[in-house]
Symmetry: D4
């Protein structure tokens, strides 16, 4: 009874409860994984260390592990939620772990994902080189640390929702992600919604509900 | 040349530049209003005092003023962007000005808006009384100050995007909206995107692009 | 003379001084433990590592160790301070260590304790499933990290004191517990008293004095 | 419909919804007052300016106004919730407005109140002069700004709950009450529960539920 | 003796002491102005209200007042420190007062100034339209509030020093300029030096010494 | 009974309680003034507006008012606590109000005071011009805003205690005195004790006890 | 040339430069130690690990190491600066390391030191038990973490200078010493000077100059 | 495709992209190094651990490693950008790592570098001893932690640009470099531009563009 697994979540929110591994023992994670896997087809566990993956894999050999993103996933049913694409951008290479958390969660939630990494504003031509790719996306997830300016620049260029993910990448006056967070919250561009620092999962979850709600209400 | 009005914005972002009146003189606002009104049908000016409204109205008698929301609007074409609804909720009565900024911007952007005000979590039955209304919405805008808990509770109940707007309502350790902002960023509910403190306009703009992008990509 | 043990504390505050182990050497803790055990029946040491427990147990074989809560306890007299119950709730599984510190301290202080863990607001039906249990409690201790919304929701439902314990569970803009702390301080629900981040002991101590003072003054 | 008055609150929480006037228009406050006064005997409105009092008094001539505490109250039934006393202490004279908010709310909630003002720790003999009064209290409300040390000193002396109210009194590095707030949260004394900065009402509400719950469960 | 005017400053730093009017009485400013005007040709007073200008003008009829920049200046010798240009950019219209402080100070210090206002990143084509102007500048002063992203984008495009001036323009989580300040300090673009929030004068002073030192050392 | 005047303070701390006027009504201040003046010869009231001075003066015509320092004083006995001197320095002209609070309090406490104002580190020769004056002081009070560097420079030059008073002078990233406060706390110079931001009185009180304690223990 | 040892410091400030070991290599510390030991009799190195002590001791066998205080000292001349006493108090046992840094530095600087540890305000009788000892001190150094209230209580009782040292002892909302720092800065007691968090050396240095300056100016 | 190396950077900004190693794997750094080394002569990688140096050196034996500065560099062309000098100063010995990052980057960018370390303001004569060296510099880079006062003192003495680098050196209320950062931003000296905490590279890059732009525009 250390956990009351929320078995209604897929009904209410469109996807089963996702396991947040930080602060849980390996045993706790495995038990919750079991409980979820009995009633659902696809399972996600984020912030998972290698040892958690191994414990899960011992019982679910088809489980996968995204190393930079630290996500354990079990995909027993390749649902295809839409033909719409989630486009994940990063400002730098060091932002990739957070971006991968977002990307793999999006994939398991049934979305096609495209990745464009390391297109920060210090060399803005790199971003414009991918301009036509923006057209193909239903939602953009913009992952950036340091000054987090990429979200505003991208937001000013597109007419689809931008999910902005500040990262803790940087040092000193980045204050562990505060600089990027404040930048994104103060974006003068339209159509930007912000999630927590380093919260790749949250970005994927928001993108997921944006896309599915778009379909549902047609 | 105090302003370079962004006349491409409607093309790129689906709605003309919205005038942010804070820090501008009445003369500057009126000139930008003119410039925009020459090339666009519907115009919005936010954070506008009564004196700005009067100066605008002198030249555009059909302009309207939302008093609590402090929004001047000119709607020359009642576009109907969708039959989808934006549902605006507030936790308390003091959050209404921010909610009204969101609501009136949504309306001018062509969306049907429903308002449910003063349903904060301290008396949670008030929220559940409106549960069926949630079903009819394409996007929920949740406006809350103090501890901002409403966004998490609502986020846990619905399967559409929640745009969370922290407000500066409260005192002391609310630190002018920081408490609600941090609550919403740390929401354990899925599908919540956060905008700046008191940013009703930003919430409307995000809701707008979510709905239109949902339509576009079908 | 590194410590002036407060031997009057049980007289003044109803329970002997509780040893706060953080920042003390094993030797210091053991000496204070001795000094307290000479004049009191029941002893608590919080924030205690395994090595402290072992050193204490070597001399007091009946000492117990609560592993997640990191509490060493010696209960030589099962006092029964009341038939009233302390109900400890957590929002998530990762909040359990703090909850256990509160729970075990409450038990040693002579109260009956009930635990309901992992009933956070993202799946609020889980909380309502335990609604009738709330009736049986004299005090509720609500332990929550991230957005800490559980304290407000619970506070709105009950007519007994709620002791709110923010935890450092989360990451990014939780700022090590600041988000939950501010939420709880700004709670719009009535009857909520807040203690320090992760301070399970402090919550138990407040619950203890609430219950005993209720009895004393009848 | 700017307000959904919570008419069940007296049932759930033991006292009707209290009107928080800050951020509401005079008209809104008066309407909510009416709505509450139809179904309840005693009404409280906090953070109320003189103009609100006058508008209320025009319709409820028996309404009272506590000037320093800025509380409008209507007491149509002098309920006597207990013979237990709420003792309100302040560190300085400038803390009195917050203390009066707490005191008058406690009185309207049906408790006997004693006040001891200006007994801060810089002249600690002043506090000890009132030591025997502490014995007569069921709950102490300690109101202090600046360094807020009074809560710890008092907490170490008594065996009843201490509700600590940090105030914004001071300047400079008091950071509008942060110094007193942090002091009180970090109190090494047992049995201290903290409410928001300047939140006299919240302290009264916590004291109220502590006392009534003590009675109820006997 | 309320002031020790630093009459060596022009010798050491290339320009006489500039009067910071905030916190000084009109009388004090006028006296310092006198003292400086006796030994120097050109004088600047920043953060000056209209009343200060009038008092100065009464004695120095040739004094000028820049209204948005709040700068009083006396230029008795149109020195021409270089043929190099200081280019002042702003992200929005509300940033103009700070930009004007920088511009007028630069002019009085003997530099040619070009202004490009309202070219923020939300409509980035506006910025690129002025790309060739960047070539003509020896130093760029970039003035931006909200997310302050303009400094990074500009910094990535040019090979001259960028002096970044965060402004307090915005609201909520801009925390009075903190968001723009942190953005600029964390800029991933090369060659950006930051001055205090709203410090137009400081930007001009840095640009001045950059240009003059470039000349001096040839 | 809004105040428990601490009539033992002169005995315990060498000078009667000083009235902190902020947050007190004129009537309250006058009553406390009376109460103190009955049992003490010399009285100080800080943070006093003109209206407080007038009310005091009506009854104590010999009372004085220091306008920039906002101190009301009554000196009925020109005690001479020592032949030692308190030297008050400021970095700028805008720091003078805080310095005057310190200076006048020191004088009333019976010390000889010398003032050297506007000798900030940007023109460090101004400071060195007064080097020999440092020799004559028993304590230095260094009052500085902005970067507060003066305390470190002075602290490195003298062999007497330096009382550092950060001021809120400045703007932007001075965060109302935080910059100077942190500078002074982190001073790498020896022998610096810091008081609250803008706390001229506190500096005088510390200087007073340093000097008197030096005499007492000989 | 990684260091310019300040060989004039004993002349200017009464004691040679003290080596701050944090951030220096063992080799750097040893070289600076040598350089100082050539021209001075007594040397102090603070924040020194065991390995630094061993390297110093290899060359100066008479060097001593204070383990909790992490201070390496060389006392070749037991100067006796005065018969006045420095009294070091702590609130808790965990504050002892900081107190020992202060105590051993005071001793090497030639002062008699008395220690009274663990007399925090939660059991205030412990403090009063040592009241007569206060009389014998020329300066009190008060070391406290958590809410840091001890400085105010002590400051209210004595008529000698109080040097307040906030410590990082505690957790959660102590924010690594911020709570105690703010408490001490906002002390309503007279005669309190604050040094940096955990800065035992700084407290000793201030006490030293207070005592010596008291002697010098007689 | 984890990196889009910005091969135009040398064209736009005068030096190729510099590799920021923090948060990148050794493999990623080596690949980016290759990619840059194919098109450029001189390469810099900052924040590089020993293991990165070894992997680079295995393929580029002429690569060098600056141990305290943690910079890997490859200089295949000793370009001489000017005869102007970058002068790097530190306040203390612990600031040397940051200073070395600045110095080695400046050297590889083609500038002559002079170093003056450990001349902090607590012993200000040490600084003046090097006064004539200031004359020879085109730009000064001032590196300081703790109270960061060196930047203001130096800024007041010279007529060339000062690039101020706050460091995280210190403890307690330095808040990891915040104190030095705020000091430098609030400098009352003219001609100071600030970069991020510990950002030696950024300082070098700003100095580089200042010098080259000075040459270019002659
Ligand atoms: N020590 C440093 N601090 C800050 N930025 C750096 C540093 N070293 C390199 N950079 C910048 O970091 C950028 C690379 O970021 P990324 O794309 O994440 O590799 C480059 O454009 C450099 O200008
Ligand atoms: N300007 C001041 N700043 C800080 N404390 C002060 C000031 N003036 C007087 N005080 C102190 O404030 C205390 C009075 O506070 P209160 O009881 O609120 O009147 C006195 O004990 C004084 O020591
Ligand atoms: N209430 C608002 N809050 C935040 N941004 C706004 C608001 N109203 C308009 N804006 C944005 O502010 C921008 C104009 O800024 P400016 O150039 O300073 O006038 C427009 O592009 C709008 O997208
Ligand atoms: N986990 C805890 N958190 C906060 N305070 C505690 C904790 N455990 C014990 N204490 C208190 O810490 C005090 C002891 O502090 P010390 O004198 O440093 O040992 C006791 O008076 C307890 O009331
Ligand atoms: Mg890159
Ligand atoms: Mg309501
Ligand atoms: Mg859970
Ligand atoms: Mg008082
Ligand atoms: Mg604009
Ligand atoms: Mg001056
Ligand atoms: Mg203790
Ligand atoms: Mg040094």
């Amino acid at each position: 009874d250390f956990a009351k697994v929320d078995h209604h979540r897929a009904l209410r929110n469109g996807f089963p409860e996702v396991i947040f591994c930080q602060g849980k023992t390996v045993e706790q994670v495995v038990k919750i994984f079991h409980s979820l896997a009995e009633k659902n087809r696809n399972i996600l566990a984020t912030r998972a260390g290698q040892e958690i993956f191994e414990a899960v894999q011992a019982q679910y050999p088809e489980a996968k592990y995204n190393v930079p993103g630290r996500v354990v996933s079990l995909t027993r049913e390749h649902c295809k939620n839409s033909s719409r694409r989630v486009l994940v951008l990063t400002a730098g290479t060091a932002d990739i772990p957070v971006a991968e958390e977002a990307a793999v969660c999006s994939e398991v939630m049934g979305h096609e994902v495209a990745r464009i990494y390391d297109v920060g504003v210090a060399g803005i031509h790199r971003l414009f080189a991918y301009y036509d790719k923006f057209e193909t996306a239903a939602v953009l997830i913009v992952v950036a640390g340091m000054e987090g300016a990429l979200a505003s620049v991208v937001g000013g260029l597109v007419d689809v929702p931008v999910v902005a993910v500040p990262t803790s990448v940087g040092y000193g006056a980045n204050f562990n992600g505060l600089s990027a967070l404040l930048s994104m919250l103060n974006s003068c561009a339209k159509g930007v919604g912000v999630v927590n620092i380093d919260n790749g999962f949250g970005a994927a979850a928001l993108a997921d509900v944006i896309i599915r709600s778009g379909l549902k209400h047609v």
